[in-house]
């Protein structure tokens, strides 16, 4: 995309963003804009819902219908919007803590319902906005401001969680692979159903500083080294998977989507009401 084309989607008066230099969030936003442009979505038809966290600030800078909600609940807000106006394209930007700690319940239920939302999880493996505390995604042994000696807790694999809960589209990629990120987001936005894109992204300010990766480029290399393009089931065992996280599109399967099923239900209810009054 050309520089001028981006500006069509950005709220220039809200720039620069609040994000730190070296933060990966901007790369995800750039990829998202590319995907939206590639699909020629009208800005008026796109609703972007953010949770709370550094990642949750995404809605401010993009020129769509935007909503910055409460911590963990973005998917529930988005569910209300989508059900009320199924014709709108609803995209949700969440942090990993947002999606899987405080919002874990909403996450699994959105997956289960298979409602047509595109959920992008900005996974920096730490709580960025609140100052680098432990997240459910912080790899075991890594340090945070609440696990100074390295966390003893195992971490979530968000994609496995989404698969287990029934999401129709599940993918993981990193900001290191910019073109793959665009491609993945484009596919997620085209998918009719609940799609989850876990985008691994660097937080040099906290994750990096706490874990001896002081420079942003070191963090990008870390992401590259930590991942391997591979199907989930091709990785020999759990331990190997934890060492190098598989990336790719793990599932893209069509099943009946929630708002479609709901509209069928309305027809059935109307029919039943008519026949019972006859």
């Amino acid at each position: 995309m050309l520089r001028e084309q981006y500006s069509e989607y950005l709220r220039s008066e809200e720039l620069p963003s609040v994000w730190c230099p070296g933060c990966g969030n901007g790369i995800i936003v750039k990829a998202l804009v590319n995907a939206i442009a590639a699909l020629s979505l009208r800005r008026d038809d796109v609703v972007l819902v953010g949770g709370i966290g550094c990642s949750g600030r995404t809605p401010f800078i993009l020129d769509f219908n935007t909503m910055h909600t409460t911590h963990g609940r973005a998917l529930a807000f988005a569910t209300g919007i989508k059900l009320a106006r199924p014709e709108l394209k609803v995209i949700v930007a969440m942090g990993d803590g947002d999606a899987s700690a405080i919002g874990g319940n909403h996450f699994i239920h959105a997956c289960r319902r298979n409602i047509d939302l595109a959920a992008i999880i900005f996974n920096n493996a730490i709580y960025g906005q609140t100052g680098g505390q432990l997240a459910p995604t912080t790899p075991q042994g890594k340090r945070s401001t609440t696990s100074l000696l390295g966390t003893i807790e195992p971490n979530f694999d968000l994609c496995k969680l989404a698969l287990g809960a029934g999401a129709g589209f599940v993918a993981r990629t990193t900001v290191f692979d910019f073109h793959e990120l665009i491609e993945t987001l484009t596919r997620a936005l085209t998918h009719k159903g609940f799609s989850v894109v876990e985008a691994l992204t660097p937080c040099p300010t906290y994750f990096g500083r706490m874990n001896d990766l002081r420079e942003p480029y070191e963090m990008l290399h870390y992401l590259k080294d930590q991942t391997i393009p591979q199907a989930l089931e091709d990785v020999p065992d759990e331990a190997a998977q934890m060492k190098r996280l598989p990336t790719g599109i793990f599932k893209d399967e069509q099943r009946m989507e929630y708002t479609e099923l709901y509209s069928q239900l309305c027809k059935a209810a109307k029919g039943a009401a008519v026949s019972s009054s006859e």
Binding site: P59, N65, H68, A76, L83, N105
Partner: protein, 389 residues
């Protein structure tokens, strides 16, 4: 609200929760998200049956936090939306209610009150969430809190709740209670068109629309691409600095507090010559009305104010009280909540304010109120054996 008596209508024997549902549908509610909890569940069950027939949306969410969040989302997508719950679920909704208040989101939250936390006494009644309804969420925030006394009143107050929420762009909380939710009374429901329904004000143009400037509203997808946030925000919905944050918070508070005389609904009985006044609300007002009759028959000059709007509190009503009134009694199914507002509203005046509380899960009886007034005025010694709460 005026009752039209054009043609004789057949009354229907319905439950308070049914009246609430029908009131919401009458008002144009087309979105319901909720999570089951006694004694409110019949509202959601009936909504799940009725809404799909008219292509309204019903969804049972995973919890009450999700329910209020979905309601707010739907409101910004243009729907008249509501949820219903009871005490514990209402507590879970508090962050969302605060968000709705600060983002000026029209929506209705019904709380059918019951006693205590977790399961408390789920099938027993209470009026213990008055303070939670007014102050439950964080920080200063505008909300309207309404209540109702009988089944038809539940219908009317639900319509009013939607009207106020649309008119002022605020969350409106309707406090019912277990008894009112579950009891059945004969009710003639109004025909379509008989009640005035208020809709969100639309701006003249989408272009240049400022979502947080005044009461005008546009939903998502209507051509104005604005931002909604719980952060302190300016008229466009973007982060505001100190002075603007202060100005905006005062503006949204004033929507309610400067309109208190329009929003404060109440009924009064014998105010002109009352020396003793019962200040009551919700289900308890019925016992109070009976007590007034009994006491009047005895010659005790007692009057009654039945508050239908609990918040904003109608201070003006108490400022206007004549010199004839010397005693106030506030009966409530709690250990002293609205009585604090009453005391505040009459402070500095030579008035005795007494509270009559009951918290065993049963209703206050007319007899308890009569006894309490006798004690208050010294007109009679309470009979032995009658429990005084």
């Amino acid at each position: 609200m005026p009752e039209r008596k054009a043609k004789a209508k057949k009354p229907r024997l319905i439950q308070g929760n049914e009246a609430c549902t029908y009131g919401a549908l009458y008002a144009g509610c087309s979105f319901y998200a909720g999570y089951p909890i006694t004694p409110s569940s019949e509202i959601m069950e009936l909504m799940s049956r009725e809404l799909p027939k008219t292509e309204g949306v019903f969804i049972q969410m995973e919890d009450e936090i999700a329910s209020i969040s979905a309601v707010i989302g739907a409101a910004w997508a243009g729907k008249k939306a509501m949820t219903a719950t009871s005490g514990p679920g209402f507590s879970l909704m508090q962050e969302g209610i605060g968000y709705a208040a600060i983002t000026e989101t029209p929506c209705v939250i019904v709380n059918s009150q019951r006693w205590g936390p977790s399961t408390g006494q789920p099938t027993k009644t209470a009026q213990g969430d008055v303070m939670q309804a007014i102050w439950g969420t964080h920080g200063d925030h505008p909300v309207i809190v309404l209540t109702a006394s009988h089944v038809r009143d539940v219908f009317e107050m639900t319509v009013t709740a939607f009207n106020f929420s649309e008119q002022y762009r605020v969350p409106v909380i309707l406090l019912l209670d277990e008894v009112l939710s579950h009891m059945r009374e004969n009710v003639c429901l109004p025909e379509p068109g008989e009640r005035n329904l208020i809709e969100r004000q639309r701006p003249a143009r989408a272009d240049g629309f400022k979502p947080f400037k005044d009461l005008t509203f546009l939903p998502f997808g209507a051509g104005a691409r604005f931002n909604v946030t719980g952060m302190a925000h300016d008229e466009d919905g973007f982060p505001a600095q100190a002075a603007e944050a202060d100005r905006q918070l005062r503006r949204i508070m004033n929507k309610i507090h400067q309109n208190v005389e329009k929003v404060a609904l109440y009924e009064e009985l014998h105010l002109d010559d009352a020396r003793v006044l019962i200040v009551t609300y919700g289900i308890t007002s019925r016992a109070a009305e009976n007590a007034v009759e009994e006491l009047r028959a005895e010659g005790v000059p007692v009057g009654l104010v039945n508050l239908k709007t609990l918040w904003p509190f109608p201070d003006f009503l108490f400022e206007r009280l004549g010199q004839n009134v010397s005693h106030l009694l506030v009966p409530e199914l709690n250990l002293g909540q609205l009585v604090r507002e009453v005391k505040r509203a009459v402070q500095g005046r030579w008035l005795t304010v007494e509270h009559l509380g009951r918290v065993d899960g049963s209703l206050i009886t007319p007899q308890q109120i009569v006894e309490a007034i006798h004690q208050l005025t010294g007109t009679k010694i309470p009979k032995e054996g009658v429990q005084q709460c």
